[in-house]
Every structure is written in structure tokens, then in C-alpha cells.
């Protein structure tokens, strides 16, 4: 599953906006889950939990060297293997070497955004290994040759009819658009894969350093199967997806399941951290934890952005974002979409490259309100915009738009001087004359103004600005604060 590198944010956004199916599905999702989670935060008894978990996460990052060392030690004590991958390629190479050694021919995957970030599937397929997504949504997206559009609900951009047609074609069943029947068909098709695969690859929702466990959250049971039945389990873990103690795990887990799907707990929360004991009929013979950097340590090093590592990938920000709700996940052109994607993607994959993600939202703040760990995504987006505006050596960012830079420098000069400002306003009032229509509104502006007037009218600069009205008032009425006069219009 490779990302679509050619469409721009605006083109894909327009496709999303034009898709009635997507609009309907996202509207339904946001009404139920976005509003539902906000209601839960308001009604929750233990309101301190969110900040406790946030503080615990930030403390974890301060001591990440200690915590990852402890995690590795405890996994190894149980007979598991731990590999530290600095780059995506390192992680892929390691996983391939394990697969080769074990003569793996079939891989089943539990839903893992990290695996998509690495883009590991093509590498496995090149080795002749069959790769099967087992999360229903990911499976559907894989069959359709598409990419997921939501962190938790991968095929939210498709409707039941589309899925029915897809299954009729790929699974050779009679057409139906009944979700239970479709799910049953997928259950049958995937069961065979799950029970015959020789390697399971999953992500890691939250590792626990104190006990050396990788914990995985799911409702379908595919992750339990993928980590129990094949003889090898590889868990891919971003270096920030770890809590220090079991106690911290307890609270982070609750926030995750509540924020992701309004559940007290997901149907399954599995904890594993090593191979099964000798002669045990289940459980992998080999357990590999791959701890991945791929740009995260750079985020860790920057106090402006370190906070974003606290994200527990619940997807709640997607469920409340009005921009995501209109454009859908594909516009973000990277595995991480929505508000979290808008911050993380530029930091991991290039700020200039993903400039639209930095600038393409209104900073309304809904994501900050809903985030279980109180991440201030608007602040970080504002920080990314600053990097695009002036460039940044630290993040290897070139000034994004030199012309715009000059315009704002001019703007600064004008707004720092009231005489220049007043003159500029008077000038604007002159220049606008040809553009004012019969209805006293501007319906068409040249250049960038045209972007506004394409869909909206614009009132012109008033014949008398407030400042001019005030001056006149001062000349006519030298004593201020007379009782209510109704002539001021």
C-alpha cells in the first residue's frame, strides 16, 4: 500500500467535498463520536485523568533513554528479541531478515499505522511473501487497492454498496450490501489466512516498560489471532508508544478506548512480551519488538514539538475536525491524517513537502478540546507556519513563499505607522471603485482576492471608516459621553 504522491491537498480535498458518500459517512461519524467523546469529557468524574496522563507521557519522554532500556531488558528476560531501528529502512531490513530466517511465506497484519509509515508491505511482497491485512477496514481497503482514510475506521470513505460490489468481485460471493453478511464473508475469508500465516506483524498501542509488555487494543480479534497463531510475531513500535509503569498504563489505556470509540475497554486488550513457553501449543516461537525512530528523536529534541509525541493515536481529533469532516483522509496524502496528521506528517516527512498540511486548516481549536492528552495541535500548526514563513535551519525548511514574505514585510511597515495605515486605506478605497457592483458589493476581485470572490461577495471599504466617523464626531461634539443618541448610523 503506497501513498499517492501526485495529488495535491486541494485537489484531493475537492474530491472529498464532492463525494456525497464521504460527506454522509463522515457526518455520521463526527456526530456520533466527535460529539460523544466531548460529552464524555464533560461528564467524566475523574477530570484530572487527562492531565495526569499527559504529565506522565511528558515525563516518560524526559526519561525515554531509561524507559526504553528497561523495556528492552524486560522483553529479553522473557525470551523476546528487541531491535532498535533508526530509520524506516532499518526496520524493514530487520523484519525481512527475520522473515528470511524463518522462511516466512505468508504475513498477516494487525492494523498498524506505523507499518504504513514504514511502507513495509511492498518490501515483503517483493520477497514473494503474501501480505494480508486482517482488520476488516484495512482488508477492504487492501482489496480495493486503495489507502485508509481514517486512523480508526480505515474504509469510512466507502459505503456498503461499494463494499458489497467489491466482495462480490474479489471474494466470489453473491452481491449483498448487508453489513453483517459482508462481515461474515470477510470472517470466513480471513480465518483461513490467520490460521495458516507464519508471521504476524502488528503495531503497538502502548508498551509497558516496567513489565516488558506490548499491549494491543482491538475489537475484532484479528490482532489476538495474528499474535497467537503464527510462529513469529513482529511488533512495530514508534519510540514514543511506551508508558513507564503498569499504573500509567491503566490510565492511558482508558483514555485511549474512550476517546477512540467511546468504550470503557475495547473488546480485547492483549498483553504480550515474548515467545510462548516451550511446548505451548499457541503463541509465537519468536517475538520481535522493533523500536523505531524514523524522525521521532528529532521531534523529541525540539521543545516546541515534543508534545506531539504524547499522541496515543485515538483518532478523536479526526472525529471533531471540521476541515477533516469536509475533505476526508486521503487529502493528507500520508498514513496519518486529520489534525494529528497535519502536525506529525510535516515533522516526519518534510515541512516544505507538506506545506498544505501546515496551512490548510482554520486553527479552530476543536482538536485541542477533544484530545485526551490535551495536545495543543493549533499551537504546533502555528509554529509550523512560522517555519514556512521564515525558513528554519533546524527543520531544514526553506522559506515557502518569498512574495508573501515581502507582502507581510510591507504590511508590517504600514501597520506600525498610523499615517501610512490611514493612507493605505484611502488608497484602497480609490482602487476598489471599478470592482464595486450595482448591489454595492464586490463580486469579483483580481489576483488572490479572486479566491474569495469566486464563492463570496465582499463589502467594499466604507465611504467613511470608523476612524473618520470618530474624527467628525469629535469636531461636531467636543464633549464626549452625551446620553444615548440614535443618530450614529
Amino acid at each position: 500500500m503506497s501513498t499517492n504522491k501526485h495529488s495535491s491537498y486541494r485537489e484531493e480535498a475537492q474530491k472529498g467535498i464532492d463525494s456525497a458518500r464521504l460527506q454522509s459517512n463522515l457526518s455520521n461519524l463526527q456526530n456520533r463520536f466527535g460529539k460523544g467523546v466531548m460529552r464524555y469529557w464533560e461528564e467524566m468524574e475523574d477530570k484530572g485523568m487527562r492531565s495526569r496522563v499527559k504529565n506522565a507521557r511528558m515525563r516518560t519522554f524526559e526519561h525515554l533513554d531509561t524507559i526504553l532500556t528497561e523495556l528492552a531488558k524486560n522483553v529479553r528476560a522473557r525470551g523476546g528479541q528487541v531491535y532498535f531501528a533508526e530509520t524506516a529502512q532499518d526496520a524493514i531490513d530487520y523484519t525481512l531478515s527475520v522473515a528470511r530466517k524463518q522462511k516466512v511465506t505468508k504475513v498477516v497484519k494487525g492494523k498498524s499505522m506505523t507499518s504504513m509509515e514504514l511502507d513495509i508491505d511492498p518490501a515483503l511482497e517483493k520477497e514473494g511473501i503474501e501480505v494480508v491485512e486482517t482488520d476488516l477496514g484495512e482488508y477492504i481497503v487492501q482489496l480495493a487497492g486503495s489507502t485508509p482514510s481514517h486512523i480508526i475506521a480505515p474504509c469510512i470513505h466507502m459505503d456498503r454498496k461499494q463494499i458489497g460490489e467489491l466482495f462480490a468481485d474479489k471474494l466470489d460471493i453473491d452481491y449483498t450490501d448487508d453489513p453483517p453478511t459482508l462481515t461474515l464473508a470477510a470472517r470466513k475469508a480471513l480465518r483461513e489466512k490467520l490460521l495458516s500465516a507464519d508471521m504476524g506483524i502488528t503495531g503497538c498501542n502502548l508498551a509497558c516498560a516496567e513489565t516488558g509488555h506490548v499491549s494491543l487494543v482491538s475489537n475484532e480479534g484479528n490482532i489476538r489471532m495474528a499474535t497467537t497463531m503464527p510462529k513469529v510475531h513482529v511488533a512495530l513500535m514508534g519510540l514514543e508508544r511506551v508508558v513507564a509503569t503498569l499504573d500509567e498504563h491503566r490510565e492511558a489505556l482508558q483514555l485511549l478506548t474512550r476517546a477512540a470509540a467511546m468504550q470503557k475497554l475495547s473488546t480485547y486488550v492483549s498483553f504480550s512480551g515474548g515467545p510462548s513457553k516451550k511446548d505451548d501449543p499457541d503463541g509465537p516461537e519468536e517475538f520481535h519488538l522493533v523500536i523505531i525512530d524514523n524522525g521521532r528523536s528529532k521531534i523529541l529534541a525540539d521543545p516546541e514539538f515534543r508534545e506531539v509525541l504524547a499522541c496515543i493515536r485515538c483518532g478523536a481529533c479526526l472525529n471533531i475536525c471540521p476541515v477533516y469532516g469536509k475533505i476526508g483522509g486521503h487529502a493528507y496524502n500520508y498514513p496519518y491524517c486529520g489534525p494529528i496528521g497535519a502536525v506529525l506528517t510535516p515533522l516526519l516527512d518534510g515541512v516544505n513537502k507538506h506545506a498544505d498540511l501546515c496551512k490548510g486548516e482554520t486553527l479552530c481549536g476543536a482538536c485541542k478540546d477533544i484530545c485526551p492528552v490535551n495536545n495543543d495541535l493549533p499551537r504546533m500548526l502555528s509554529g509550523l507556519r512560522q517555519k514556512l514563513a521564515y525558513g528554519s535551519d533546524r527543520w531544514n525548511v526553506k522559506q515557502h513563499n518569498l512574495t508573501e514574505g515581502y507582502i507581510y514585510r510591507l504590511w508590517r511597515t504600514i501597520t506600525s505607522n498610523s499615517f501610512l495605515y490611514r493612507t493605505g486605506v484611502r488608497l484602497g478605497r480609490l482602487i476598489q471603485r471599478p470592482f464595486i457592483g450595482n448591489n454595492k458589493l464586490i463580486e469579483k476581485m483580481p489576483s488572490i482576492g479572486g479566491a474569495w470572490t469566486k464563492d463570496r461577495d465582499l463589502p467594499p471599504i466604507a465611504p467613511k471608516t470608523f476612524a473618520e466617523i470618530w474624527r467628525k464626531k469629535q469636531r461636531l461634539k467636543p464633549t464626549p459621553a452625551a446620553p444615548a443618541s440614535r443618530e450614529e448610523k
Binding site: A451, F466, E488
Partner: protein, 247 residues
């Protein structure tokens, strides 16, 4: 009543394009007997530059603002986003300059949004206003989430004689303006404002109001293009109305 003289902070958009909002504020203060002045050197709070990432340039406008306003007793503005800029972002802009930082903090502490000042600081709920018609209200993002102002406008509107207040669905969902977002990503912005308009129209109100002219400009610009009949008024204009020839 605090007895302080209000220094009017008239947002650049209000000054240039919607001066009636500013004059409406004066009408209200006159009616309440609140003294006010207007520092004529004011220009713009800096939001357009800040919003686009030009923090350094925004700081230029901010310096000017602080110079113009720092001797004011209290500063009142008919725009939540501008107040948010001054209170929350000015200190950030000067975090590396201790002296400017304290000045920024001091100015921020005495800067208020119009309805916030009337209700929270002056203790007014009834402004003796009269406006007949049904009105629905849009919660602007910076006003609502940034400053926590939600009940104050509603309190004031509910006490306007003859006014029927109707809550719209999703009153606090972003209208899609987002400053330069509306120009750089117009298709997304339009899609968002269209949804806001659907909710406004579904409320069946005759008028839509709010506390931020930027949102209202966005909404009215689209309503006008769509040839919808519903009227758009800044809350100051409603609060200034006394039922005679106000529509």
C-alpha cells in the same frame, strides 16, 4: 460599575468595512453612560500576519498596538479573535524580550471583548435594547474556545425586548474563515461556510448574529452570493437597537 474610560479597540475590518459595528458600540456605551475614547493611532492587532506564520511581522504590529493602548484604563473590542490575539499571542511573540513581554501581558490583562466586558466586568444583563425578530447566534472559535465566552452574548440577547432567540445546530462549529485560509483553500472554506449556512437556515431565524465580524463577513458574503434573504448583524448592532427604524 467600574467607572473606567473605555478605549475602543476597533478591529481593522470593522474600521474599514463595517464601521456601523463601531458606531453601534458607541450607542450602547452612550446609553449606559460609560465614558469612552478612541486612540486614533491604532491600526491592526497583527492577526493576519500571525495567522499566516509571519510572527516576526505580526510583532511589529503588536509593538505599535502596545504603544497606542498601554496607557488606556481598559480596552474593549468587538472581536473575539483580536482579543484572543492580544491576550494569548502577544506574550508569546515577546517571550524572548522580558520588557516587551511584561508590557504585552499588562495590556492583555485589560483587553476585553465587548459582550464579556458588559456582562462580566460591568455586570449588565439588560441593555434596554429593543429588536423585534428571531435571531440565531454563531459561536466564533477564538471567542468560544479561546476566551471561554459563551453565555455572555446569550444573556444579552435574551434580554433584548421583542427578540426571539433560537439556538442553531452546531453553533460552535467553525464557519470556515480561518483568516488567509479562506483565500488559500477557498474550496474547503466554502464547503464549511455552506454547512454553517445550512444550520443557520434550518434554525428559521430572520437574523444571524455573532461577536466576530470576520466570521460574519464570511457568512454574509456567502449568503449574499447564494442570494439568501436572511440578515447578518454584529451583536453590537442588535444591542444598540431601540426598536425604531433599526431594520
Amino acid at each position: 460599575m467600574s467607572g473606567k474610560t473605555v478605549s475602543l479597540f476597533i478591529q481593522c475590518l470593522v474600521d474599514t468595512m463595517f464601521p456601523e459595528t463601531g458606531t453601534a458600540m458607541m450607542t450602547v456605551f452612550d446609553r449606559l453612560g460609560i465614558p469612552y475614547d478612541y486612540p486614533t493611532g491604532q491600526t491592526c492587532c497583527g492577526q493576519p500576519a500571525f495567522n499566516s506564520g509571519y510572527h516576526h511581522d505580526a510583532a511589529g504590529a503588536a509593538r505599535h498596538f502596545i504603544d497606542v493602548f498601554e496607557d488606556a484604563e481598559v480596552i474593549v473590542c468587538p472581536s473575539g479573535s483580536c482579543v484572543h490575539m492580544v491576550r494569548h499571542h502577544y506574550p508569546e511573540l515577546f517571550k524572548k524580550e522580558p520588557e516587551m513581554h511584561s508590557r504585552a501581558v499588562a495590556v492583555g490583562e485589560k483587553t476585553y471583548e465587548f459582550t464579556q466586558y458588559l456582562v462580566d466586568e460591568l455586570g449588565f444583563t439588560d441593555l434596554q435594547a429593543e429588536f423585534s425578530g428571531s435571531v440565531t447566534y454563531h459561536d466564533s472559535c477564538h471567542l468560544h474556545r479561546g476566551l471561554g465566552i459563551f453565555s455572555q452574548p446569550r444573556t444579552l440577547l435574551n434580554n433584548v425586548r421583542g427578540l426571539e432567540f433560537i439556538e442553531m445546530t452546531d453553533s460552535d462549529t467553525c464557519c470556515g474563515f480561518g483568516g488567509t485560509f479562506s483565500i488559500n483553500y477557498p474550496e474547503i472554506s466554502t464547503a464549511m461556510v455552506d454547512e454553517k449556512i445550512e444550520n443557520i437556515l434550518a434554525s428559521k431565524a430572520e437574523v444571524v448574529t455573532g461577536c466576530d465580524i470576520s466570521c460574519l463577513m464570511n457568512i454574509s458574503g456567502r449568503l449574499s452570493r447564494r442570494k439568501e434573504k436572511i440578515k447578518v448583524l454584529h451583536i453590537a448592532e442588535i444591542l444598540a437597537a431601540t426598536g425604531r427604524g433599526d431594520r
